[in-house]
Structures are given as C-alpha cells and as structure tokens.
C-alpha cells in the first residue's frame, strides 16, 4: 500500500451512508513460505450505532481483519487491497500521519488481554488523558476531569484515586473497564472490540459486555465485536459474520443466522459447542481435520475438506457469497443447510459413508 495520499477528502457522507463500508478487503502477508492470505476478500457495511459480531476460530483472520481496517498493521510485507470507507472517507489511502486523526478520536480499539494492553509503567490517568490531549484542544486539568468522568461512566469506584494508580493495581475486570474508558475517551463513532472478554471470568465477562452495551446506547456508537464464542455475540450483535480461512462464509442478522443458517461450517461450529440444556454425556458433533493452510489454501470451497455436505463441485468451484431468502443473509455454499440440494448432498454422503464403513 504505497499509494500517494490523496488530497483531503471532503466528507460526502449523507445520513443514509453507512458508517463503515468495507469492500473486498484483502490483507496478505509476504513470508518466506509464500503469501499468507490472512484476509481474503471481505466486504460488509456497518451502520451507526449497530453491532457487527465477527465469529471465527483461531486462524480465521478475524483479528487481522480488524487491524487491517484500522490500518494498524505494519506497512512492510503487508499487502492491503480493497476499499475501506469510514464516514465517507476512503481511509486505505491515508498515510499513518493522517490516520492519527482517526485513531482514538473517531475509531478505537480494545483488546483481548487487558493486562498487556495497558502500559504497565504509566499511570492510568495518563493513559486516559493522553488521547484526550492528543485529539481535543483542552488543558491538563480539564482532561483530568474528563478522565475521571470516563472512569465513573465505566463504573469504576473511586475514579479520582484510580487515575493515580498503575494497571497492575487493578483486577482483570477493572483493567478491561479502564481499556474501555481509554477507547471511549474521545467519543469514537466506531469501536473494535477484539475478544474483549476472553481473558475474563464469566461473571466479569457479563459485566463488561453489559457495560459496552450501555456505552454503545449512550454514545450511539457502532461496535465490531470479534470473538470465538457464538454465545457472546448471540445476545449482543445486530448482525453476525462468520469467518473461515480469511473470508466471511456466512453473514446474517443475528436472529436469521441462528434460525436459518445456511453454511455447513456455521452449523458444525454451533453443534460442537456443549449446551447447558443438553443432558450430561451428550455426544458432541465434531468438525474433523484442521483449518486450511493460508499459504496454499485448497481449491474450491475452503471448508470442503472438512465438510459433511461436500460434493465434487465443492472441491473445484469456489462458491461466491450468495444471497439468502431473508434480507441481509449471505453465505458461501453450493449445498446449503436446510435446502433440498443440501439435504440431498448430506444424504448422499451418509450413504457413501455407510457403504465404505460397511466394507471396512
């Protein structure tokens, strides 16, 4: 990405334009082993105040996706193609210097591990006011007041006291609240939350997720919530994108996704999670094999080698994102779940398996 920075773009965003519009984003890394296609053609839009859940297992490219959209990946060795329009500005063409006006101010990010995402040798107050002072023209005293209010709004007790403390003096949950406060400091329109609760206990996770929801409502902020846990996004995202091998394989409004999933991967992922309502010793469905190598991904559908619906066509032709019956639903599959073709494919495979199984 060495395109020259374009002249300052005038915001052309009308009220109808979505806040974030990602089109065919590709992020590849050059490595000695070849090109790693970490993100391979991802498109989506996100409206103001909405939440997009991005779900995927490790290696699916969800973290790289968020950092690529924000432009936080190192330039060297990274090939980024496609378009990211944020609030009417094409941000892929901006230099890091120009991006600095976006970072923290209009889009910000929180990470999985609250311990490592706060500077251990810097006071919390400093870390919060830093971006305030960077982006807003305010004096130190006012920035401190703002910081204190922020801590109060993320429900940290004794905020005045906390400003003078260091991160290690807080518990994990409190640290993540501080991270949220840092991310919210300048009132961004978009927040990337990268596995924000994976390192936390369940009860604390619930607190933090609720806090994020409250802040989102109050600030009319859009959130990209990245997680490996379908449970986390189920109750909190407006729309869910399922990623596999660097691509979105299924995307739908949350209720549609769960009631009418079309992608065999989504189905398999959901059925491999143990459920509370199932009795003990319920046999879990498993997905055989491993995610594909991102340097030399398989031809055709990337999930085909592990798929129970797989047909010869899947191994040759890469399915495009196809619209589902309900608005906003898209998936990549030739033999989708819950369709006659899908059922037929599954039945055929079961029969084959019975034959080979019987022969063995």
């Amino acid at each position: 990405m060495t395109q020259p920075a374009s002249a300052p773009t005038v915001s052309t965003a009308g009220p109808s334009e979505p806040l974030l519009q990602v089109e065919d984003l590709r992020t590849h890394f050059e490595t000695p082993r070849g090109i790693v296609r970490a993100v391979d053609g991802v498109s989506f839009t996100l409206a103001r105040g909405k939440t997009l859940g991005v779900v995927g297992e490790s290696g699916s490219g969800k973290t790289v996706l968020s950092r690529s959209i924000m432009g936080l990946l190192p330039k060297r060795g990274t090939i980024r193609e496609g378009s990211v329009r944020f609030d009417g500005t094409e941000i892929t063409e901006l230099s890091p210097k120009e991006m600095r006006d976006f970072w923290g101010a209009r889009m910000s990010m929180i990470f999985q591990d609250p311990m490592t995402s706060l500077n251990p040798v810097m006071k919390i107050g400093k870390q919060i006011t830093e971006s305030i002072r960077q982006h807003l023209d305010v004096d130190k005293k006012y920035a401190n007041e703002l910081g204190e209010n922020l801590l109060r709004s993320v429900r940290i007790p004794e905020p005045e006291q906390r400003l003078k403390e260091y991160p290690h003096q807080l518990s994990g949950g409190m640290r993540q609240r501080v991270c949220i406060a840092v991310a919210l400091a300048c009132g961004p329109a978009l927040l990337f939350a990268d596995e924000p609760t994976t390192a936390l206990d369940v009860t604390v996770q619930a607190q933090v997720l609720d806090l994020m929801a409250t802040q989102q409502r109050e600030r009319f902020m859009a959130i990209v919530l990245i997680t490996h846990d379908l449970g986390v996004v189920a109750g909190r995202a407006d729309e869910i994108a399922v990623m596999y091998a660097g691509r979105i394989v299924e995307k739908a409004p949350t209720s549609v996704l769960f009631s009418d999933m079309k992608m065999p991967y989504t189905e398999a992922l959901l059925s491999s999670i143990p459920k509370i309502e199932h009795p003990s010793h319920t046999r879990l469905n498993t997905i055989p094999g491993r995610p594909p190598n991102l340097v030399t991904p398989p031809q055709g559908c990337k999930f085909a080698p592990r798929c129970t619906y797989v047909q010869p066509r899947c191994l040759e032709e890469d399915p495009p994102l196809m619209p589902g019956t309900q608005p906003g639903h898209e998936y990549r599959c030739w033999f989708p779940v819950g369709t006659p073709e899908g059922a037929e494919a599954l039945a055929r495979n079961r029969a084959d398996q019975a034959v080979t199984g019987g022969a063995a």
């Binding site: 007790p157 009860t203 609720d210 109750g235 909190r236 959901l270 509370i276 046999r283 879990l284």
Partner: protein, 345 residues
C-alpha cells in the same frame, strides 16, 4: 455459604477417591501473609464416575487437583485414594503410587517436552517403572497412541510438529499408559478452539469407557463441565458452594453463586437476550484476606448479617443436592439481583 462440611460424602468404602478437609496455603513473599487457596474442601468420587469441579479463576479448583496429586502435598486434610492415604505417604511410597493416578494439563504445549519424541514422552511412565520388556512397552505405546487417534507413523516426531489438539491427545496417551484408575484433567480443553474442544471431550469419554477410568474434570466452562460430569462441585474462593448432579444443579441451582454463574453464561441463542439485572456485581475478593463467614457474601444479593458471622456448612436440600448456604434458593425460585451491583475492588 461457600462453606465446609462433609455431609455430601458417601459411604467410606465405596469411593475411589476421598478427600477430607483439604487445606492449601501459599506464603506471599516474606510478608507473612498467605493465600488461602483451598480451605476445608471435602469430596469423594465413586469408581467410574466423573466429578466436575467448576468455578472462576482463583476459586482453587486447579490447586485442589494438584493437592490430590500431592504436587505439592497439601497443608492439611486427608486424601485417600483406592484405600491408601496419600497424605500420610512419603518419598518412595508416594512415588510408587504415582503411576496409579495421573494428570492432564491445560497447556498442551507447555506440558510436553519439546526435545523428546512423542514415542518417548508416552513411554516415559513405563520406563520409569520398568513395566514389561522393551517390546511390550513399544506395543503399549502404540496401542494408546492409536486409541487417542495419533497416527503411529508420527511417533518419531517431536511435539512442535503437532497441533494443540493433537498435543492434548498425546498428553492423554501419556496419562493412560500406566493404566491409572483416576485421571485429573486440569482445564484440558480451555486452550483449544471449539471444534477441537469437542473432539477432545468426546475422546475423554471414549478413553473413560475403554480403560475404565474415573475422572476429575476441572474447568471454568459450565457447559463443558456439564457435558462430561456425573456430579458437579461448584467452588468459590477456596471453598465448596454446592455439590449436585449436573441435571439438578443446572436446572435448579440452590446456591446463589451457582445461579449467578449460570445466569452469566452467554447462550448461543439470540432468543435469550441477556438482562443487565441478572449480572452478578463485584469481583472475587483477595484470597489473602477472605471475607468472614460465608466467603461469597460480599457479592451475594441474598446476604444477611448472619452470613458474615457464621460460616455455612454443606447440607442436603434435595436428594443428592448439597449446598453451603444459609439462605439457599428454593426449587423454582429465581435469583433476584436487588439494586445496582456493588462494585468493589
């Protein structure tokens, strides 16, 4: 709640493992303070049973597992395994017991020596105890590796050539190779992706059937624990809160903490929108200075003055359901969180 007591223990003779009044403390530096990691925990396991131990970080579940293994021996209490009191054994006698109870760890990478071949890692237990001759050891190693689903063609490889899930399979093979009766699984799936997690959970069930194992399954994920357990023990801050069969516990938790834990699980079903009022406030207090009386009282919406003065004992509230709480939830009663959660550090 979060109390002591032994009411939930079953007949002395039937259990494969019986733990009474387990006490583990760690000194904190030279300050004289100590972490009360596990305080007065008792439980027992029948042969062939799987006991799930569940709780959040800092509840002492992993410490309990290691104390049972005598790694290191606990400060107090009794651990009786298969009729032998482990806590009274020393040196060689204790070492001789080791192959009979085994352990599987959380981190599949850290728990395998990177410089040894898979074959040698699995064979180590047999080599230490000189079990069988060379050929029979090799045969046994291949058999267990095949049982856990590792291709025998790969036994000459080193751990870094395997994925996390496969490493966990190798750990399981290493644990079963000396034919133990009891295996303590310390968060065996929490480092794995969900699809791999399902494979390992199924594998554990298979191995249990194949080798007649009894399991202690330690995890923080309630759904995972429910999937494998015959009995579940909920721990909080080094104490037992509730012991019950999984179906009872998950449908009618009697302890407010169990109920809060269940309420906090994110359910992969958009129908159940999480309710902010259902969220447990606060965080786990410091194990160096645990609250008096019931250790959960500082976060409990049902706490009364009595809870600060008197430590609740485990008692049976329904058949097979034991709870350490002065004011347990009645069957059918939902936990109500009154007022804003008190946030404390």
């Amino acid at each position: 709640m979060a109390g002591s007591g032994t009411a939930h223990l079953r007949g002395d003779g039937d259990s494969l493992l019986r733990v009474e009044h387990l006490l583990v403390e760690f000194p904190v530096g030279r300050s004289g303070l100590k972490v009360n990691a596990v305080t007065d925990v008792s439980f027992d396991i029948l042969e062939g049973e799987t006991l799930g131990i569940v709780g959040e970080s800092g509840c002492g579940k992993s410490t309990t597992g290691r104390a049972v293994m005598q790694l290191p021996p606990p400060k107090g209490g009794r651990v009786v395994y298969d009729g032998v009191e482990l806590t009274s054994l020393k040196g060689e006698d204790l070492r001789a017991m080791r192959p009979r109870l085994q352990m599987i760890f959380q981190d599949p990478i850290s728990s395998l020596n990177p410089r040894r071949k898979v074959k040698d890692i699995v064979r180590e237990g047999l080599d230490i105890w000189n079990i069988g001759d060379k050929d029979s050891r090799d045969a046994k190693v291949l058999e267990v590796l095949e049982a856990v689903g590792i291709d025998p063609a790969n036994v000459e490889r080193r751990p870094h050539e395997f994925s996390g899930g496969q490493c966990q399979r190798i750990s399981i093979a290493r644990a079963v190779v000396t034919d133990p009766k009891l295996i303590i699984c310390d968060e065996p799936v929490s480092a794995l992706d969900v699809s791999v997690q399902a494979q390992i959970l199924n594998l554990l069930e298979d191995m249990k059937a194949r080798y007649g194992l009894t399991l202690v399954f330690i995890a923080h994920d309630l759904a995972v624990v429910k999937n494998v357990s015959d009995r579940v023990m909920v721990m909080y801050l080094g104490k037992v809160c509730e012991v019950a069969g999984p179906d009872t516990l998950y449908s009618q938790p009697a302890h407010p903490y169990s109920a809060a834990l269940l309420a906090a699980i994110p359910v992969p079903d958009p129908g159940t929108r999480p309710d902010a009022q259902q969220v447990l406030g606060g965080e786990i207090p410091s194990p160096m200075e645990p609250p008096s009386g019931c250790r959960f009282r500082t976060r409990c919406p049902r706490a009364q003055p009595q809870c600060g003065q008197e430590e609740p004992e485990l008692r049976e509230v329904a058949p097979g359901q034991y709870v350490a709480c002065h004011f347990p939830l009645e069957p059918g009663e939902a936990l109500t969180f009154g007022g804003p959660p008190s946030v404390s550090i």
